[in-house]
Amino acid sequence: MSKYWVSITELKEEKYLVDALREMGYRPEVHQEAVPMNSYYSEQEAKQANIIIRRHELRGACGDIGFARQPDGQLTLIADELDAYHGYGEKWLGRVQQLYKEKQTFAMARAKGYILKKREVIQTKEGQQVRLQSAVRR
Protein backbone atom coordinates (compact mmCIF):
# COMPACT_ATOMS: atom_id res chain seq x y z
CA MET A 1 0.00 0.00 0.00
CA SER A 2 1.26 3.44 -0.68
CA LYS A 3 -1.12 6.35 -0.60
CA TYR A 4 -4.72 7.46 -0.41
CA TRP A 5 -6.57 10.72 -0.69
CA VAL A 6 -10.06 12.11 -0.45
CA SER A 7 -11.21 14.71 -2.95
CA ILE A 8 -14.24 16.82 -3.65
CA THR A 9 -15.52 16.66 -7.19
CA GLU A 10 -15.63 19.98 -8.96
CA LEU A 11 -17.79 20.20 -12.07
CA LYS A 12 -15.58 21.75 -14.72
CA GLU A 13 -15.80 19.66 -17.86
CA GLU A 14 -18.97 20.19 -19.81
CA LYS A 15 -18.95 16.86 -21.66
CA TYR A 16 -18.93 14.73 -18.49
CA LEU A 17 -21.65 16.85 -16.93
CA VAL A 18 -23.81 16.53 -20.05
CA ASP A 19 -23.19 12.76 -20.14
CA ALA A 20 -24.12 12.47 -16.46
CA LEU A 21 -27.38 14.37 -17.00
CA ARG A 22 -28.21 12.25 -20.05
CA GLU A 23 -27.67 9.10 -18.02
CA MET A 24 -30.19 10.47 -15.54
CA GLY A 25 -32.69 10.64 -18.40
CA TYR A 26 -32.55 14.36 -19.23
CA ARG A 27 -31.89 16.08 -22.53
CA PRO A 28 -29.81 19.07 -21.45
CA GLU A 29 -29.39 22.08 -23.69
CA VAL A 30 -25.81 23.27 -24.06
CA HIS A 31 -25.01 26.92 -24.79
CA GLN A 32 -21.59 28.47 -25.25
CA GLU A 33 -23.01 31.77 -24.00
CA ALA A 34 -25.35 31.61 -21.01
CA VAL A 35 -29.03 31.96 -21.88
CA PRO A 36 -32.05 32.81 -19.69
CA MET A 37 -33.74 30.15 -17.63
CA ASN A 38 -37.49 29.99 -17.08
CA SER A 39 -38.74 30.39 -13.56
CA TYR A 40 -42.15 29.75 -12.03
CA TYR A 41 -42.13 33.18 -10.46
CA SER A 42 -41.94 35.78 -13.20
CA GLU A 43 -40.98 38.50 -10.73
CA GLN A 44 -37.81 36.68 -9.78
CA GLU A 45 -34.50 37.91 -11.03
CA ALA A 46 -33.76 36.34 -14.42
CA LYS A 47 -31.15 33.61 -14.14
CA GLN A 48 -28.88 32.41 -16.87
CA ALA A 49 -27.00 29.18 -17.42
CA ASN A 50 -24.86 27.38 -20.00
CA ILE A 51 -26.33 23.92 -19.49
CA ILE A 52 -30.08 23.81 -18.94
CA ILE A 53 -32.65 21.14 -18.22
CA ARG A 54 -36.05 22.54 -19.00
CA ARG A 55 -38.83 22.33 -16.46
CA HIS A 56 -41.00 20.01 -18.55
CA GLU A 57 -38.35 17.31 -18.04
CA LEU A 58 -38.18 17.87 -14.29
CA ARG A 59 -41.13 16.28 -12.59
CA GLY A 60 -42.58 18.58 -9.94
CA ALA A 61 -40.03 21.35 -10.45
CA CYS A 62 -40.95 25.03 -10.31
CA GLY A 63 -38.43 26.13 -12.89
CA ASP A 64 -35.59 25.10 -15.16
CA ILE A 65 -32.40 23.81 -13.61
CA GLY A 66 -29.08 24.88 -15.02
CA PHE A 67 -25.35 24.98 -14.58
CA ALA A 68 -23.54 28.25 -15.17
CA ARG A 69 -19.88 28.62 -16.04
CA GLN A 70 -18.05 30.67 -13.40
CA PRO A 71 -14.90 32.77 -13.92
CA ASP A 72 -12.82 30.03 -12.22
CA GLY A 73 -14.07 27.48 -14.76
CA GLN A 74 -16.47 25.65 -12.46
CA LEU A 75 -20.03 24.87 -13.48
CA THR A 76 -22.34 25.68 -10.59
CA LEU A 77 -25.94 24.69 -10.08
CA ILE A 78 -28.58 27.35 -10.72
CA ALA A 79 -32.07 26.44 -9.53
CA ASP A 80 -35.10 27.82 -7.76
CA GLU A 81 -34.68 27.43 -4.01
CA LEU A 82 -38.08 25.80 -3.80
CA ASP A 83 -36.92 22.98 -6.05
CA ALA A 84 -34.62 21.74 -3.32
CA TYR A 85 -37.86 20.58 -1.68
CA HIS A 86 -39.07 18.98 -4.89
CA GLY A 87 -36.30 16.43 -5.23
CA TYR A 88 -33.66 18.66 -6.80
CA GLY A 89 -31.55 19.50 -3.77
CA GLU A 90 -28.25 18.22 -2.43
CA LYS A 91 -29.05 14.57 -3.00
CA TRP A 92 -29.90 15.19 -6.65
CA LEU A 93 -26.75 17.24 -7.15
CA GLY A 94 -24.73 14.53 -5.40
CA ARG A 95 -25.99 11.98 -7.92
CA VAL A 96 -24.99 14.31 -10.76
CA GLN A 97 -21.50 14.69 -9.24
CA GLN A 98 -21.17 10.95 -8.69
CA LEU A 99 -21.97 10.19 -12.34
CA TYR A 100 -19.73 13.04 -13.50
CA LYS A 101 -16.81 11.71 -11.47
CA GLU A 102 -17.32 8.19 -12.75
CA LYS A 103 -17.38 9.31 -16.38
CA GLN A 104 -14.39 11.56 -15.89
CA THR A 105 -12.43 8.75 -14.23
CA PHE A 106 -13.27 6.25 -17.01
CA ALA A 107 -12.21 8.67 -19.72
CA MET A 108 -8.99 9.69 -17.98
CA ALA A 109 -8.01 6.10 -17.18
CA ARG A 110 -8.58 5.04 -20.79
CA ALA A 111 -6.67 8.03 -22.18
CA LYS A 112 -3.68 7.44 -19.91
CA GLY A 113 -3.46 3.71 -20.51
CA TYR A 114 -4.86 2.30 -17.28
CA ILE A 115 -6.99 -0.83 -17.38
CA LEU A 116 -10.37 -0.91 -15.68
CA LYS A 117 -10.55 -4.21 -13.81
CA LYS A 118 -13.75 -3.95 -11.85
CA ARG A 119 -16.80 -1.76 -11.26
CA GLU A 120 -18.98 -2.34 -8.22
CA VAL A 121 -22.04 -0.59 -6.88
CA ILE A 122 -22.23 -0.74 -3.10
CA GLN A 123 -25.32 0.08 -1.06
CA THR A 124 -24.54 1.87 2.20
CA LYS A 125 -26.63 3.65 4.82
CA GLU A 126 -25.52 6.94 3.27
CA GLY A 127 -26.56 5.86 -0.21
CA GLN A 128 -25.06 4.22 -3.23
CA GLN A 129 -21.29 4.16 -3.75
CA VAL A 130 -19.50 3.30 -6.96
CA ARG A 131 -16.15 1.55 -6.67
CA LEU A 132 -13.81 1.40 -9.64
CA GLN A 133 -10.64 -0.65 -9.64
CA SER A 134 -7.93 0.01 -12.22
CA ALA A 135 -4.46 -1.32 -12.85
CA VAL A 136 -1.38 -0.09 -14.64
CA ARG A 137 -0.96 -1.53 -18.14
CA ARG A 138 2.26 -3.53 -18.28
Binding site: S2, W5, V6, K91, Q98, I122, Q133, V136
Partner: protein, 63 residues
Protein backbone atom coordinates in the same frame (compact mmCIF):
# COMPACT_ATOMS: atom_id res chain seq x y z
CA UNK B 1 6.44 -7.63 -7.58
CA UNK B 2 3.24 -6.54 -5.86
CA UNK B 3 0.27 -5.76 -8.13
CA UNK B 4 -0.30 -2.06 -8.66
CA UNK B 5 -3.95 -1.18 -8.27
CA UNK B 6 -5.95 2.00 -8.00
CA UNK B 7 -9.28 1.83 -6.21
CA UNK B 8 -11.63 4.81 -6.42
CA UNK B 9 -14.78 4.95 -4.33
CA UNK B 10 -17.28 7.65 -5.29
CA UNK B 11 -19.98 8.38 -2.74
CA UNK B 12 -23.47 9.79 -3.23
CA UNK B 13 -22.22 13.34 -2.80
CA UNK B 14 -19.67 12.90 -5.55
CA UNK B 15 -16.76 12.85 -3.13
CA UNK B 16 -14.15 10.28 -3.93
CA UNK B 17 -11.56 8.31 -2.03
CA UNK B 18 -8.64 6.99 -4.04
CA UNK B 19 -6.45 4.23 -2.69
CA UNK B 20 -3.19 3.26 -4.36
CA UNK B 21 -1.61 -0.09 -3.66
CA UNK B 22 1.80 -1.33 -4.73
CA UNK B 23 3.15 2.07 -5.76
CA UNK B 24 6.18 3.81 -4.37
CA UNK B 25 7.78 7.24 -4.69
CA UNK B 26 7.57 8.81 -8.13
CA UNK B 27 5.26 6.21 -9.65
CA UNK B 28 2.86 6.96 -6.81
CA UNK B 29 2.99 10.70 -7.51
CA UNK B 30 2.35 10.15 -11.22
CA UNK B 31 -0.77 8.10 -10.55
CA UNK B 32 -1.87 10.69 -8.00
CA UNK B 33 -1.62 13.46 -10.62
CA UNK B 34 -3.40 11.32 -13.25
CA UNK B 35 -6.35 10.41 -11.03
CA UNK B 36 -6.76 13.62 -9.10
CA UNK B 37 -8.13 15.37 -12.19
CA UNK B 38 -9.16 18.91 -11.41
CA UNK B 39 -10.61 17.98 -8.06
CA UNK B 40 -9.93 19.68 -4.77
CA UNK B 41 -8.03 17.32 -2.48
CA UNK B 42 -9.41 17.37 1.05
CA UNK B 43 -7.07 14.85 2.64
CA UNK B 44 -3.89 13.16 1.47
CA UNK B 45 -2.01 10.43 3.31
CA UNK B 46 1.11 8.55 2.36
CA UNK B 47 1.26 5.00 3.62
CA UNK B 48 4.42 3.41 5.05
CA UNK B 49 5.13 1.54 1.81
CA UNK B 50 5.46 4.84 -0.03
CA UNK B 51 8.59 5.65 1.99
CA UNK B 52 9.81 2.07 2.21
CA UNK B 53 9.94 1.84 -1.54
CA UNK B 54 11.77 5.13 -1.81
CA UNK B 55 14.38 4.05 0.72
CA UNK B 56 14.99 0.87 -1.20
CA UNK B 57 15.44 2.84 -4.42
CA UNK B 58 17.80 5.30 -2.74
CA UNK B 59 19.86 2.52 -1.18
CA UNK B 60 20.19 0.89 -4.57
CA UNK B 61 21.29 4.13 -6.22
CA UNK B 62 24.00 4.68 -3.56
CA UNK B 63 25.61 1.39 -4.35
Amino acid sequence: MQDQTITITIDGQGHSTTDLEGFTGRSCEKVFEDFRGGDRVKLERKKPAYYTGQQVQQEKSHR
